[in-house]
Symmetry: C2
Subunit: 151 residues, 2 copies
């Protein structure tokens, strides 16, 4: 991406000119389903990155946690989000904040995609996946047990 | 704003629960018309702020420049934006990047508002207004002379 562009048009399919649509993760074996990633702004001067993720109907992001914070603005579609011990329905322009070291997962509804902007620090730690003990703890709550996807 | 909230619902009027709608600027005498500001995320750990600005129909932001960068995602309505020597029509989800020390102004169309997310560094320099010489230089281009609003 050429950071020097002043204007980038958006198209109805939620692609931006000059912005590459990438795989959600590059790590093999990390569980997720049907997610794409576009990096909209990654200016060293900002020290943050603004990414657009889109989860296809029925898809989900990786259940994970990390030290860095996520600041999210929903842009498109419909879905549900787990943050810590809470699950919320989300729609365009709702905000989601993922605090440090908090388990989280974004799921699109079965009949709608879920597109969102996610702001993170440019320098950030790697996500941690839940081990068996963490999964067991999450599954103590029936609603969370039914929500999470780990394959 | 309470940064600890994990979910904030958005309403059709583009207000977010728990987020105060503020004046665009607190400095008296700075020229702008009909602009509101909501700070959506201002987490010290992010070192950035994500704000939502809304310019009412016919309104405009201040013509200014500064060292810090703006990374903008249009969210609502329609308008035109000056960045340096270029003016572009913008619509929802278009991106605008304002490089350092570049004159810029956002104008809503006469019959539509213009709402946009603007990402900035938490620590940033104060904007500079154009002096007579800078205005004269901007006005050498007829299109820019017709666009800018300075009262």
């Amino acid at each position: 991406m050429n950071d020097s562009a002043r204007f980038r048009k958006h198209d109805p399919a939620f692609r931006w000119e000059g912005v590459e649509t990438r795989a959600y993760k590059n790590d093999p074996g990390v569980p997720y389903r049907d997610v794409t990633r576009q990096v909209l702004f990654d200016d060293p001067a900002l020290r943050c990155e603004l990414r657009y993720f889109e989860v296809a109907p029925g898809g989900y992001t990786t259940l994970e946690r990390h030290e860095h914070v996520h600041a999210v603005v929903i842009q498109r579609g419909r879905g549900r989000v787990l943050v810590g011990d809470a699950i919320a329905n989300v729609m365009p322009f709702d905000l989601v904040r993922v605090p440090p070291r908090t388990w989280h997962q974004f799921r699109a509804d079965e009949d709608a995609c879920l597109g969102f902007l996610c702001l993170v620090n440019h320098e950030r730690d790697r996500p941690e996946l839940p081990d068996a003990a963490a999964l067991a703890a999450l599954r103590e709550t029936a609603e969370i047990a039914a929500f999470i996807r780990t394959e």
